[in-house]
């Protein structure tokens, strides 16, 4: 993620008041998280597992904290049980941003069927769980998408996911 995309994301967070960042470090979003950690506006928590992060963020969000869980699409697969409960079962307003590993343009080093699995399973999983998502792949629309995805969680009273790819990520 380059400096422009990082700056746009942080601007959007501040615009809607997101100041609590939950993350499980992964390479494509590392620079974003690093910049956030250096900014005193934000409080960050590193979680030990994806299911934990999704559920923790769900509790904080329902309680009124303005937060986001930043992870990778593999994290959505690992945390699918937690997603199923935060989504279809309880409908918790929860904002997740995830790098779209396995999308076209991912030349980050993961190869073969591992890469292909992310691509083939990620979006169908979200669709099966009926969790609304958007794909952010152009910088000119990134800030608006971050803002609107977060606001969608409040308006829907349900989770929403923003997948990062294209020129936003690679």
């Amino acid at each position: 993620m380059d400096q422009e995309a990082i700056a746009l994301t942080i601007e959007a967070f501040k615009e809607v008041g997101i100041n609590y960042i939950v993350t499980l470090p992964e390479e494509p979003t590392h620079d974003l998280v690093q910049r956030i950690r250096e900014d005193p506006y934000f409080e960050t928590v590193t979680v030990p597992s994806e299911g934990c992060g999704i559920t923790f963020c769900g509790g904080a969000s329902l309680g009124g904290r303005r937060c986001v869980f930043i992870t990778g699409i593999a994290g959505l697969l690992v945390g699918s049980w937690a997603l199923s409960q935060m989504g279809p079962t309880f409908s918790i307003p929860l904002f997740i941003m995830a790098s779209y590993r396995g999308d076209f343009g991912d030349l980050s080093g993961v190869q073969g069927t591992t890469l292909y699995t992310f691509n083939q399973v990620g979006e169908p999983l979200l669709q099966a769980l009926r969790i609304p998502y958007r794909i952010a792949d152009h910088k000119p629309t990134l800030k608006r998408l971050v803002r609107d995805s977060y606001l969608a969680t409040l308006q829907f009273d349900a989770p929403a996911v923003l997948l990062l790819t294209g020129e936003v990520l690679w």
């Binding site: 809607v16 299911g51 769900g58 969000s61 309680g63 009124g64 904290r65 409960q85």
Partner: protein, 205 residues
């Protein structure tokens, strides 16, 4: 020691200002019968009870949040112990009812050598205890509700305890809506209340 007796004792110390979260065990039916009032989120199952409670504890840092978890649920995602230690919420009390069994379907690992309190301590939670009698429970748990935590207790309870709540259970969404209505009335709720302007959105947009 019986789970019901522990919960009855706990209910006498939990006021309406506190927030409780339960997993999907007999605790659910017992607690909704015993708790007189106040926000309760029920039925977070298979590893989700404790991390959800930790999330609520950071949303309400000046209010006690009590997680009523169980051995089988906690073991599914024991990483939540690490989360609890990392976030270190002073207002959290985690109580794990350990009946050493999966209902009537056999023993959990805690019937053998697995020690959940030792795992919690190993994860970095400082205030921990295992209680085996109601007297021990009475000695440590009420005090934790008045002290800085996080606190983590394992309550060894009898397996096979049944409880029938005559009140039909709420639906998941109905329960959640009731919970949201309760917490949004709290003066320290910092979220967006329904019908109020969204953050960062100019009026009229």
């Amino acid at each position: 020691m019986k789970r019901y007796d522990c919960l009855e004792l706990l209910a006498s110390h939990v006021d309406e200002e506190m927030i409780t979260v339960t997993c999907l065990t007999s605790t659910f039916n017992m607690w909704r019968a015993l708790r007189k009032g106040g926000p309760s989120f029920y039925n977070l199952n298979l590893g989700l009870c404790l991390p959800f409670a930790v999330g609520l504890s950071v949303a309400f840092p000046a209010r006690k949040v009590i997680a009523l978890d169980a051995d089988g649920s906690l073991m599914i995602d024991a990483s939540s112990l690490i989360l609890t230690a990392q976030v270190n919420p002073a207002n959290l009390v985690a109580l794990v009812f350990d009946n050493q069994s999966y209902a009537r379907m056999g023993e959990t690992a805690t019937a053998g050598g697995t020690d959940l309190e030792a795992m919690a301590r190993g994860a970095g939670i400082k205030h921990t205890a295992t209680v085996r009698t109601l007297e021990e429970f009475r000695a440590v748990v009420p005090e934790a509700l008045q002290s800085a935590g996080p606190s983590f207790f394992v309550a060894k309870v009898e397996p096979g305890e049944r409880f029938k709540n005559p009140t039909p259970p709420p639906t998941a969404r109905g329960m959640k809506d009731t919970f949201v209505q309760a917490i949004t009335r709290l003066p320290d709720y910092q979220g967006v209340r329904y019908g109020t302007p969204l953050p960062g959105v100019p009026q009229g947009e």
